[in-house]
């Protein structure tokens, strides 16, 4: 009986190994590898942030597709390109576009951006698969302290502009630390007349949708997240906004990744604080007066 069980396990293991070896070449997210079968969308996921010894910061970004099946051969076939627009935040500098080299770690495509200054980074990734076009974007502020502009990207390329259509986050002063409860205003740049609604996703699960106005503008206020509120002040989550638009040339899927922290002042209760402040203050005043009255007698 035990021998039979062992044999079954061996056969099962051999099958799994074989399936695993064949899958990267043969499947696209569990489906047969036919060129017309492309991922639904791609998005930028935030990786670790490394503090370099010279004071500069390196942020890693992964380019991902649903079910994590974007590997090196696929990425190369999809003609993945990436670049970023950076702007020194303090003092305000000119907007510079820099192409980025896509690197691979165990087949997973990733990007590294390094900066030694307080900089606003607007990262764009574009790809094509058959007739489908993909856009992914994100915005992040980086607080580098080496004073150097950048160390690991290619030289600036004037006139670099994101390929349309794409989701554009309207700049705001509060974006250096994006939080739940904050209002984010987007514009679907270069899109068609009726792009529909933007899907809000977390961990590839749809959490809701946001309707666009006829001009392609929409606002999103991420709700407070109790898990973030209980975690460290620096903890974050990633929310992806997805817009898919059918065009005569094929489907366009655009995503925007928001790196959200817990709200700093969203849970503040001013009347309660003021009441406590006044009560304690009056309590001390009353205590001193009472002590003085007692000492008179």
């Amino acid at each position: 009986m035990i021998r039979l069980q062992r044999d079954i396990l061996k056969i099962l293991a051999a099958f799994l190994v074989l399936a695993g070896a064949l899958c990267p070449g043969a499947c696209w997210c569990g489906q047969p590898a036919v060129d017309s079968l492309c991922p639904g969308y791609i998005w930028i996921a935030y990786g670790p942030r490394i503090k370099e010894k010279d004071g500069s910061l390196t942020q890693r970004f992964y380019i991902q597709a649903p079910d994590g099946c974007l590997n090196e051969p696929r990425a190369k076939k999809m003609n993945l390109t990436a670049f970023y627009l950076s702007r020194r935040a303090r003092p305000m500098g000119p907007r510079l576009g820099r192409p980025l080299a896509i690197k691979y770690n165990r087949g997973a495509p990733y990007l590294d951006i390094n900066t030694g200054r307080f900089t606003r980074i607007e990262l764009h990734v574009a790809a094509t698969c058959g007739k489908q076009r993909y856009r992914a974007a994100t915005v992040i502020f980086m607080f580098g302290k080496s004073g150097k502009e950048t160390t690991n990207s290619l030289p600036p390329s004037p006139g670099l502009r994101p390929p349309q259509p794409y989701i554009h986050l309207r700049p705001d002063r509060g974006h250096y630390w994006m939080q739940t409860g904050q209002t984010f205003r987007f514009v679907y740049q270069g899109g068609g007349q009726n792009p529909g609604a933007a899907r809000v996703m977390e961990n590839q699960r749809t959490m809701g949708s946001v309707a666009l106005d006829p001009q392609g503008a929409f606002s999103y206020i991420p709700p407070h997240d109790p898990r973030l509120d209980r975690a460290e002040p620096g903890a974050f989550k990633q929310t992806v906004l997805l817009l898919t638009e059918p065009t005569p040339q094929g489907m366009v899927a655009s995503t925007f990744t928001l790196l959200l922290h817990r709200s700093r002042h969203g849970h503040d209760h001013l009347p309660a604080g003021l009441a406590l402040f006044v009560l304690v203050g009056l309590g001390v005043l009353w205590g001193v007066l009472r002590k003085r009255k007692r000492s008179l007698f």
């Binding site: 503090k51 370099e52 010894k53 010279d54 004071g55 302290k145 080496s146 509120d229 209980r230 460290e232 002040p233 620096g234 817990r262 709200s263 002042h265 969203g266 849970h267 503040d268 209760h269 001013l270 309660a272 604080g273 003021l274 406590l276 402040f277 006044v278 009560l279 304690v280 203050g281 009056l282 309590g283 001390v284 005043l285 001193v288 003085r292």
Partner: protein, 320 residues
Amino acid sequence: MTVKALRLITQHTMFLVLTYGGRLGISLGVALPCFSCPYVSGCGGYCYLMALQRKGWGLAMPLADMVSSRGLEALCYLGLFALLAALFNKLWCGWICPFGLVQDWLTMLRQRLGIREARLSWRNRERLKPIKYILLAYLVVVPLLIAHAGLSGDFGLPFCQICPAKPIMPLFAGITRHMALDFTNTVTLVFSILSVGIAGGMLAGMFYKERFFCIFCPMLILIHVLKKISPIRFEKQVDGCLGCGNCHRMCPVDIRDVQEQKTKKDVLSEDCMLCLTCVESCPQDKVLSLKFLKWPLFTSSGGYVARHFPMKKRAHAPDE
């Protein structure tokens, strides 16, 4: 012009610079040895206690960062603080600190209202003295625990979280949010209750007792440590002192060391904030003097007392 008037002008000028200077592009750095609260948006410089507790600039820095350029930056801030604290020593407290001026405003208001000051007995004052050491230990230990023992980041800036300047000073810039209770989680709620409660109690305490907060101020200890290398000296010619006790009676923080010192020249005690009220009120020529190295900046004189404290007023001075 009296020293008191000169001090008030300096205090008000520094209050404007440190509270609103940032809006005019003034930035005096993050290593100021006074309560120039960083929670005041548009302030002209930051209190060093904040930098000392911060992850990026002070004790909450992880070990790996300490050996990088960030560690060097933190060391530069410490050096700058030491330089500034040594250069002006306690003049920071009596002449520059914006939170000190707020306390002086409350004292002026109380005096205008004719309300008697609360007297702290010497024994009670001595009992309260260790609190500032406890606060200093607290602001040093908690950031270290965050950096090396995995304490939650919600405990970050532990002294700022309970400092009464945090809710009060931003009010001068129209910011009320630090008066709010923060219901994010239990730790933030407890800290906000402590912060607002301490601020309310301290404000009332500062109204009744001149420079009440200075009894608990941990910055005083840090500045006092640098007394030995400071060019600012506060000296007494012990032979000339008659022991009249004016210095003790007039002192806003009730220091009696100046009167009681019978052997040593140096009378700059830990709680002294160099307001020079004692020097102004000393009737003996050159007995008390504030010096920059060996050069006297201001010395006591009978003539000064006669001019600025006429007999009628002196008769009303509070008795021991």
